[in-house]
């Protein structure tokens, strides 16, 4: 079982790249520990900026650094980063096309019992709504590293959401990665699952279980929520009876909404959108919350069977 978190994976690749690239700057808001970026701050103190508990300042300063040629990675809890500093993200980053990657750590319900202030269940919707902002939700550590490496190659704004705990491996070192191209993890004739982030390992297991039960099921890892990879979705959805989206997010404005938008326009299909509900969530660890709201392997399998009237 993998124990390396996606945040550690990000720190590792930034450490490696920063050796040769003095323009890489990491900015934190009393969040270096929770972002696993303390090794970066210690190794490259001159490429690290601490702004204190001030998320608006975090994003504004990042934009200013980027406007002067720096390649900036600003890391703060997804909940604060995407709501407290929303206007800075809109104006200083997205609208101004500054070379900033916003890294939302402990995304979704990672903080479990810390409650609604600490959940980020609106970040897909909020960040995708900004013209000029790209939104990525990598699943495992390998995909996370490839994504960060790819983002270092371009100069456009992006938001990356990762979770707190280690995600089970979906890929391996030699995985193929293409920016803005979703990964097809399996093809099926009856059902297509579309998942992102923390939900991908659960969806992968659900796919395997459904296939064993004779329900031919495929899976897309739609890590690129924006720009959404409509081409891959339409290819895979063409012949199935049912599409099921799975996301660690509120029902509105995220993976389900975006998939519905594409399908209803080009390929109307029966669609089930699994997500967290639009209500105050129960208290518990992230795994307890997933289970309670049916966002785990069992929940996905059940939802598919119910939609196909098998139970």
């Amino acid at each position: 079982m993998n124990t390396i978190t996606n945040r550690q994976a990000i720190c590792d690749i930034l450490l490696e790249k920063a050796k040769k690239d003095k323009d890489i700057i990491v900015v934190c808001s009393d969040s270096r520990g929770s972002a696993s970026l303390t090794p970066f701050a210690q190794t490259f103190p001159e490429q690290f900026v601490e702004v204190g508990i001030a998320e608006q300042n975090l994003v504004g300063i990042s934009a200013g650094l980027a406007a002067c040629g720096k390649k900036v990675f600003a890391a703060s809890p997804a909940c604060f980063l995407t709501t407290r500093s929303y206007e800075q993200a809109k104006v200083d980053i997205a609208y101004s096309h500054t070379n900033v990657t916003l890294i939302g750590i402990s995304g979704g319900v990672s903080y479990g019992a810390l409650g609604m202030t600490h959940h980020s269940c609106q970040d897909f919707a909020a960040m995708s709504a900004l013209t000029g902002m790209r939104v990525y939700i990598p699943s495992d550590r390998f995909q996370t590293q490839k994504l960060i490496a790819a983002l270092l190659e371009d100069k456009e704004p992006a938001y990356v959401r990762i979770s707190r705990s280690a995600t089970e491996d979906v890929y391996n070192e030699s995985m193929e990665f293409k920016l803005n191209k979703a990964t097809v993890l399996g093809e099926g004739k009856d059902v297509l699952l579309v998942a992102c982030g923390e939900m991908v390992p659960y969806a992968k297991k659900a796919m395997e279980e459904l296939n064993q039960k004779g329900i031919s099921t495929g899976l897309i890892d739609m890590y690129c929520l924006k720009p959404y990879d409509a081409e891959t979705l339409l290819q895979q959805a063409k012949d199935v009876k049912l599409v099921v989206t799975i996301e660690e997010h509120a029902p509105q404005g995220g993976l389900g909404s975006m998939s519905a938008h594409v399908l209803s326009k080009y390929c109307p299909k029966r669609l089930v959108t699994l997500s967290l509900p639009d209500e105050h969530l129960i208290s518990g660890t992230n795994k307890e919350i997933f289970e309670y709201y049916g966002l785990d392997t069992k929940g996905i399998v059940q939802a598919v069977k119910k939609a196909l009237c098998i139970i």
Partner: protein
């Protein structure tokens, strides 16, 4: 030992139990703020379970909401709910006693947990009192690290603009936040001068873990007319448990059994 001090140490014991059981919570900040909460709830404020629906009750906001653990223990002890239930279920599956103040819990005025909100909300509450010619006072407790949030300074301006002498802020000035000392992370030097320059009445408390000194400060604040008051309480993070004091690692550290026993023993010694 005076009654308030005794109470604050009894409450420390409850906090230690709650945090040990749940393996969650923010022990360092709890132990630095508990004397402030004790003095406010057991003496200064007119808030109790019986008057909590009374429009003229004082208002209390814990802006440094991550120390909900300490507040739950105080509210439970005051009879807002069963204290033992809070201790036993804190941060557990389906519990309403989550890691931050929330209005599902009796005695909480407003949800918090994201830093830098409380002072603005407090300004609104104090302003409403002025509008309705009510005599209640509004108390807001903030962290020193929290003072990096710019919203606080917007609230400070507004409180002065509207001459909110019914508003009293407290800064739990323990010199630490998560990543290190305040000076290492984002210096808040001359916080007293900052408040003063915004037109506030500033009261510094040399030992912010001394109930006696805090009580005096709050009494002084009540007397001040025409402007808001701030009590700058120089506290010790982790106060009362020797190995936690002034250690950044205890911001949200989790105790092992040995540490738990030692913590309880140290508190018992003070109480006996």
């Amino acid at each position: 030992m005076d009654k308030l001090t005794r109470k604050s140490y009894e409450l420390r014991r409850d906090i230690i139990e709650m945090i040990y059981k749940s393996k969650a919570g923010h022990i360092g900040g709890d132990l630095s703020v508990i004397d402030i909460l004790t003095v406010l709830y057991y003496d200064v404020m007119n808030i109790c379970p019986e008057n909590f629906t009374d429009d003229n009750r004082d208002r209390f906001l814990l802006s440094k909401g991550h120390c909900a653990d300490a507040l739950f223990v105080v509210l439970g002890d005051q009879g807002f709910f069963d204290k033992q239930e809070a201790i036993d279920t804190f941060s557990q599956y389906k519990s309403k006693f989550i890691g931050h103040p929330n209005t599902e819990v009796n005695g909480i005025e407003i949800n918090s947990g994201s830093l830098g909100h409380g002072l603005s909300v407090g300004v609104g509450m104090a302003l409403a009192a002025k509008m309705d010619k009510k005599t209640y006072r509004t108390y807001v407790v903030l962290g020193d690290g929290e003072m990096a949030e710019g919203s606080n300074y917007e609230a400070m301006m507004a409180a002065h603009q509207y001459q909110l002498d019914n508003l009293c802020a407290t800064i739990d000035f323990n010199n630490l936040q998560i990543s290190g000392t305040i000076d290492e992370v984002m210096s808040s030097v001359s916080i007293a001068e900052k408040f003063a320059s915004f037109g506030w009445n500033v009261i510094e408390v040399e030992d912010g873990n001394s109930c006696k000194q805090l009580l005096k400060a709050y009494q002084e604040a009540k007397q001040c007319k025409g402007k808001p008051s701030v009590v700058i309480a120089h506290t010790v993070k982790g106060k009362g448990v020797s190995f936690m004091e002034n250690q950044k690692a205890w911001h949200h550290g989790v105790m092992n059994q040995e540490q738990y026993k030692q913590a309880v023993q140290e508190l018992e010694e003070v109480l006996s």
